[in-house]
Symmetry: C2
Subunit: 363 residues, 2 copies
């Protein structure tokens, strides 16, 4: 399975990895204006409208046909849901509550009116649950394929924002939910399993097609000051952990036995642990908590929220180290996360596997 | 020429014109929250962050390869400029000052690093002039073609916003600049003229590739209370005037002899008046002014700003009427404006002609 995942991202020597370009952009556009609190480089930009009682966050994320999805694998309702979910997840990762969004939809001439309506309905249903309002957008005919681009605005609670950069060596690392579930679903689709026979198969497929963004959890963690650094897992734990560590100036150690992996996927030939590290698109939250706050977090964390698991800690050493459990034999985690800009000449077959590097420009 | 323009939009009976879909969406998502002042249906959505001293506007607009542009006809700098310009224009049309923007870029594997850098530089140069800051976005490999999607945030001056809906019968109608200049440039490109020999040809090509959004004018008109209704001319005067009229509950009469058309295009076989009515992508502003304010406007309008021309007035009668000059013989203006959703089966040849109906969802 690791080869499958890695095939999204052929190493290649191309100098234009997205992270590289983000660095260039950041240098070029790094200046902050009076009301801009955070520009390029986090899950969302943060600004303070003059006089406003809260900060606002601004982010965008797109889904492209045959790169991020295939029409044969996801219906319009699921795509509408997912396109908004990935944006909600960006705000969740900062602890910001979503308020308004736009959607730009480019569709080829052969897409039916029904498809369009279903797309908007899938999006609207998720929007309603998260109290985010569609305020505008675009609808355009495209020449080649479906493009979906959403921009989103959110508002903080008590001006609290959690950045990727807030972590300190020693912080405990937690994740919400289960890791590798979406990639397990993708694994099924690649094998031609579109419906799913067992409950696990259906769960994996559903999470791949329509993940649930962790808005409530993110907002709760921020408002109560438990999370010091946070990021959403769009490109897989390995890659997103490196991003959080790099912004926080730390490395990390991860206890593989503590990873909440999707064990059921073993039944269809996946390696749950590999998918837990490298599978993208789970949209779970990874966050760091000062050790002194960990027991309060575990005590007060609402039972009705998705599970959280303590999976490791941030370290002064900048590498990402894996060990079975604290104190066990250590090894470096290979850096195999996928990145759009390493997919070379990817046709539909090679490329549909989501590579949520889109968020790396920061919004 | 009129046939050329009209061929973008074959009438067809397809029920999914974009305006139709916008109406549906508006019914579905029409509810306003406490801080949302204007949702779907104008050039941008407007909201009031709790406590803030100004209103904020939020908008998005995309450019798709082989629909909105061709790589052979526009370089990356021009595309970067134009993609931002069309978004700036949305805010200009409401009198709102641009503050922050994001950009999502989906590009095929064969696009060079240089192309990407140039694109960002074209965008950055325009951004700098308008004091709008790039705060985030996406960079993603696409499977088929280039997609550019920008979202933008702006801030009012003294909480003043000009909507499409603010016009009254009797208001004078003005436009900035020249109409049909962009379509004249497109006409050249379609004839294979990519460089331009004369000054006029170069001017038309430049305006088509990189129009200047009228931010200063829009903001000035709003702040001084001259414009009562305003819209930017993305789909051509005929179509955008109908939109303004429909939102304001009026019709209009236009004096064709007063239209500031691009006369030079006659030299390459265009009909300047037809392009003045139907040519898209000029990104000039169309605005209505109460008659009692017209002479003050004409007196105080800053000389260094682009010219404005009084071209007609809003009427109680809902039709759009054309006459040579006030009091002359009247005829109805045929409704030939182009609309993405009337381009059926448009390959690159048929479709590249911009159809800026993207803004109709309202943001």
């Amino acid at each position: 399975v690791i080869n499958k995942i890695a095939s999204y991202g052929q190493p290649g020597s191309a100098p234009r990895s997205e992270d590289h370009i983000v660095r260039l952009l950041r240098e070029r556009f790094g200046g902050l204006s009076a009301s801009l609190k955070r520009g390029i480089g986090d899950d969302a930009a943060v600004f303070h409208p003059a006089g406003a009682s809260e900060y606002w966050a601004f982010s965008t994320d797109m889904l492209l046909e045959d790169v991020d999805f295939r029409k044969e694998w996801s219906g319009p309702r699921q795509l509408g849901h997912k396109a908004l979910a990935v944006n909600l997840s960006d705000l969740a990762a900062m602890g910001v509550r979503p308020r308004f969004h736009t959607v730009s939809l480019g569709i080829p001439a052969d897409i039916s009116q029904r498809w369009i309506t279903d797309f908007y309905q899938g999006m609207a249903k998720l929007a309603e649950r998260h109290h985010v309002i569609l305020v505008g957008g675009d609808l355009s005919q495209s020449a080649h394929s479906i493009h979906i681009s959403i921009a989103i605005l959110g508002e903080t609670r008590r001006k609290k924002v959690v950045y990727r950069s807030g972590g300190s060596a020693g912080d405990f690392l937690y994740v919400t939910g289960i890791l590798g579930r979406s990639a397990s679903g993708l694994g099924l689709l690649r094998r031609g399993v579109v419906e799913g026979d067992s409950r696990s198969e259906r769960e994996a497929l559903a999470w791949h097609r329509a993940p649930e963004p962790r808005c409530e959890v993110g907002s709760w963690l921020a408002a109560h000051g438990f999370a010091r650094a946070m990021i959403d897992l769009s490109d897989g734990l390995s890659m997103d952990l490196r991003r959080l560590g790099s912004e926080s100036g730390t490395g990390a150690e991860i206890y593989s036995s503590a990873l909440p992996v999707f064990e059921a996927s073993r039944a269809w030939g996946c390696d749950p642990l590999e998918l837990g590290f490298y599978g993208g698109e789970d949209y779970e939250l990874l966050f760091s908590v000062p050790p002194a706050r960990a027991s309060a977090l575990e005590r007060h964390y609402p039972r009705q929220y998705p599970q959280i698991s303590r999976i490791g800690r941030l370290t002064r050493n900048p590498s990402v180290i894996v060990m079975k459990e604290p104190g066990a034999r250590r090894r470096r985690l290979p850096d195999l996360g996928f990145d759009h800009f390493r997919i070379k000449g990817a046709g539909p077959e090679a490329s549909t596997g989501r590579n949520n590097s889109r968020k790396h420009l920061g919004a």
